[in-house]
Amino acid sequence: MFNNYLLIAFRNLRKNSTYSLLNILGLGLSIACCIIIFLMLQYHLSFDAYHKRADRTVRVVTDVHMESITPFRGAPNPMSKALRTEFSFLENVAMYATRAEALISVPSASGIPDKYKEEDKFAFAEPELFDILDLPLLQGDAKALREPNTALITENLARKYYGTIDAVGKTFRYDNKVDFRVAGILRNLPANTDYNSEILASWASRASMSEYSPFMDNWGGMNGGTYCLAAFREGHHPSELEAAIPEFRKKYRHPESEMLFLYKPLPLTSIHLNSDYNTGMMKKSYLWALALIGVFLLITACVNFINMATAQALKRAREVGVRKSLGSTQGQLFWQFIFETALIVVAAVVIGMVMARIFLPYLNTWTKDQVELTGTDGKMLAVFLLALSVVIIFLAGAYPGLVQARFRPAVSLRGLAETKPAGGFSLRRMLVTTQFAISQILIIGAAVVTAQIEFARNADWGFRPGAVFTVPVPNTDHMKSLKQQIASIAGVKNVSLCYQPPASSSNNQNGVQFENRSQGEPWAVNFKPADADYLETFGLQLVAGRNVMPSDTVREYVVNETFVKKLNLAGPQEILNRSVNVDGTKGTIVGVVRDYHNWELSQDISAIAFSTNSFAYSNCAIELMPGNPAPVMAQIKQVWERNYPDYYYEHTFMDERMAQFLESESIIMNLIRIFAGIAIFIGCLGLYGLASFMILRKTKEIGIRKTLGASVPGILWLFGREYVRLIIVAAVIATPAAWWAMNAWLQEYAYRTTLGPGIFVFALAMTFVVALLTVGIQSAQAALANPVKSLNRE
């Protein structure tokens, strides 16, 4: 029996090869997208779930309670020690402090060390970490991390540095300062962990380094990349720690700081998608959006399938009649059609897998993820594909199968389908309306996302992001001569030594005490150490007072307008010549700059203070004259390398930095836009096919109407009327839904584009364009055709 079905299915597909190909490719494309979306979801939801103790491990994060609550992903350095002594229900506690950049020098045979600049690969860790996370060692012993100047590295890095994984006992130098001995080799880390540093240096070495040692017992501040992980004993629960925190923080606090840190244990597996406490670009809302688009894609593909199959059913009606007259039951016919659908779906799944395999590497390069076709666990994808196939087969195949199996042979043998399939027609309308509604929601979504990206890109950051770039200042010894030498190069307009540019991901957040107010302010100031050329170099505009005088220490402050507002002063003039204490250092406020965005646009502008403080400088910002930058930049590089022969030269343009600020967001948004685009495209394919069938069916009617004197516009309206009505019904459904969803999404942004009626009108117009392209052109052809021909064909 199945042979017979297979033959018919196969010959049918071959007979309508173009249509079959379109159908299979369209479905295959949807399935490819669904596979990719599934893998992305699986990947992001699996983060750090593979650790044996994952279900009883937390990360202790900090909510900074000032005038508002600021979530902070790190914890103070002494946290692990304190937790260990206080709470016996904790099995293990460990600190894990990442470094965004590390310069690794590996001794080489030639005597000149090989240098590697490692980004996000270096971390200081306590040995207890190995009893919390699954970090298997290939060689050596994790206990070695109790000693200072020891480190563990992954097999990848061992190969890279030493050409072998037998690297225990070898050495490297960190940031040209500290030597480390390799005490063990870690197995390579899986992609789905946020604790992915490939060099784990001992916490004891951090304690002995001069830039960290003063802060190792400091409860008054913390670094974003410094995490505290804790595993509970079996049977204990994070709520126990939560309950104990109020007492705990009274005991462990910075004596002078009025800031209140509220520590919070967050389940390890929940952090990856928690954008408040994680730096990753993937947020829950984006995953939801992707999943929703996946479902939309699936529905669209199934609707296409149903529409095409029912439209085609007319052609199959006679076969149904014959088969019934040969003794087939309804059930057998139903399964025949399901079988045919299954054949197409299986072909589409195969094509989808191939497409997914082709697209995934590009996607990974782009999102910097490592999503693999096998998934984080190969079985899940197989189960997903099976479930997906069954769902599509029955969603898409059951209705047409049922309709066709029910054809009454006495009627269908005459080559007619039931003339009045009452349910079928309204169902088709419903399906097409669904498809239009989905398209409109996706168009609105994509348009709003685009508007927000453009809004951010064109936003006035309040300073000049163009022809300014920064080079690092590795140490303060040579920086003054570096500045002088660079300033003397022809083509350089301004040079400034500073801690960070005006908007940066590295920041100091400090307490403020104004004049003689007895208490500190309930908010923190973003303190930006910089020399007197900073405002000029970055084009920051003074609205009152003057710039700071050159100095090496903190003497005078320039603040921004928000600073003035937060002090509740009447205007910028009010603040001039008054004294302020930032993080324990007093100075006089001499100027106020216009507000600019110092964070991503999703956040409010904070109070900012600038002051000279040469110990804190780590960047040199350079503004070029207009003209060809290449020769100037080559000279700058030469000068820099002469001053810092042991270090890595690199320059970063401000607009690149700005782009990086927006990058992570825009990647995901673009991804959502692409998937939305594909869904809309697949919808168009279906509408096109459906329209061509409908028109074929109405050819005779058109011919008759024309011979009766109908005009071309009249005939176009005959088709258009129906679609216009469906589109308007779809808009009534789609507009509020999309408005609600996109409005909720935009609330995540402190500075956002407005959701005007324009976007909704645009979406409606786009839908009409889509309908016009898919339906209109074909209708026009049919309407213009010679009626004699169309009547003869019947």
């Binding site: 029996m1 017979n4 033959l7 018919i8 010959r11 049918n12 007979k15 006679r318 076969e319 009649g321 014959v322 088969r323 019934k324 007259s325 040969l326 003794g327 087939s328 039951t329 309804q330 057998q332 009454r408 042979p409 006495a410 043998l413």
Partner: protein, 227 residues
């Protein structure tokens, strides 16, 4: 063999009923060869479809080999149908995408006949109708007469007791028509198959033993064919 009692078939369209068949009573005995004649729209085909269980009467009783078909559900009707009835159409209604061989095989698949028996039965019939050489051709590659021969062979493949033919020669030239009618006659006389045919042609009706004349959905008269 079969008996129709007060069969009615109408279409309800709002308050009005359009009758296709009205108070049709008929009895057909095993081994008969009956022709149904009448002008277009007199309900001939509908009556044949009802006899063949492809359509249901709106009212009335249909007894087939002592069983009350009008009370059966679809599944039991199909069972009865598979066992006893073969259908031949004016437009042949072969499945275009299947070869001659596969077309003949399809009813056996629905009857779940084992593969070996399928092969031998098909081989027998191909032989009997001189179509062995054509078994791998598709319907479109055959002439009308040949297609109708396949149609008849397909109707016979399940060894039916009753063959229903809906204008079996309507699309054929006279020579081919004559050959087809000879086949029917032989089947009736030599194999004892009961045959009911709908026809327009007096010549074809003469092959049978009895003629039912239909007019506006009623059996107007009955005539015995004189040899």
């Amino acid at each position: 063999m079969l008996e129709l009692k007060n069969i009615e078939r109408y279409y309800q369209n709002g308050a009005t009923k359009t009758y296709v068949l009205r108070y049709v009573n008929a009895h057909i005995a095993e081994g008969e060869f009956v022709s149904i004649m009448g002008p277009s729209g007199s309900g001939k085909s509908t009556l044949l479809h009802i006899l063949g269980m492809l359509d249901e009467p709106t009212e009335g009783e249909y007894w087939f080999l002592g069983e009350a078909v009008h009370k059966f559900n679809e599944r039991r009707r199909t069972e009865l149908y598979q066992q006893y009835i073969g259908f031949v159409f004016q437009a042949y209604h072969l499945i275009d995408d299947l070869t001659v061989y596969e077309n003949l095989e399809t009813p056996l698949l629905y009857k779940k006949v084992p593969s070996g028996e399928r092969k031998s039965r098909i081989a027998d019939l191909l032989d009997r109708f001189n179509m062995v050489a054509k078994k791998d051709l598709f319907p479109a590659q055959l002439s009308g007469g040949q297609q109708q021969l396949v149609g008849i062979a397909r109707a016979l493949i399940g060894n039916p007791k009753l063959i229903l033919a809906d204008e079996p020669t309507g699309n054929l030239q006279s020579q081919q028509a004559k050959e087809i009618m000879d086949v029917f006659k032989k089947l009736n006389e030599e194999d004892g198959v009961t045959i009911v045919q709908v026809t327009h042609s007096d010549a074809n009706a003469q092959y049978g033993k009895r003629i039912l004349h239909l007019m506006d959905g009623r059996v107007e008269s009955e005539e015995i064919v004189k040899k």
